[in-house]
Symmetry: C2
Subunit: 127 residues, 2 copies
């Protein structure tokens, strides 16, 4: 794992640094509720109220916005099931599944270092 190897990311950084479209995409894929939604949908398809129950802190409005955004980016799929009353099922797409590994790496990092970070905060706030 050397830094001398010109990975695609190196090229990306030199040419664009983090370019606006990439930043915008990550903003939408990683925003406040997206991680929780993706986490649920990686487990199983969910209906709207399944997600509300799984993520109690989210409001209906924010959840709707999050789902629309993820759907628009092709990260999740929305399908209407013709039962009565109508059911709507959300599921992760293959494209969205590719996000799982990076997201899990982030969650692992957060989980591992949270205690250390909380100590850093205490130190900072004291000084």
């Amino acid at each position: 794992m050397t830094d001398t190897d010109p990975s695609p990311r190196e090229v990306l950084r030199e040419e664009f640094r983090i370019e606006a479209p990439h930043r915008e995409l990550l903003d939408q894929a990683l925003d406040k509720w997206s991680l929780s939604v993706l986490n649920e949908l990686c487990e199983r398809p969910c209906r709207f109220n399944d997600l509300r129950r799984a993520i109690p802190a989210v409001t209906q409005k924010s959840l709707t916005a999050t789902l629309r955004r993820l759907e628009r980016n092709g990260i999740i799929d929305r399908r209407i099931v013709n039962t009565r009353p109508v059911a709507v099922e959300y599921r992760i797409t293959p494209l969205g599944k590719g996000l799982r590994a990076p997201i899990d790496a982030l969650l692992d990092w957060a989980n591992t270092y949270l205690p250390q970070i909380e100590r850093a905060r205490d130190t900072f706030d004291a000084g």
Copy 2:
């Protein structure tokens, strides 16, 4: 709590539920400008105006806020160099370096699938 044996899926869901402290930490570590800042500081230590030049779109106010937040979490380090006029150098900490791999994985994902995602957006916006 459950009448039946918890399925592996349910256990998994409990494990991976994103809790508030983790979500807050990721909010702070991955917010609008943090990725760009970390990207720069992974390359080399930077002074305040180095970062402004490297990230032209950021305002001074937002950059200051981003740097304070990262410093408070122990992800970057701020040191005052006693020259005249005073210089301030920011650098990544060992803790912050641990974020590089997950972030790079995200950037690689964004870089790889951005074209596909833009097509998904066009399709969504057309329909």
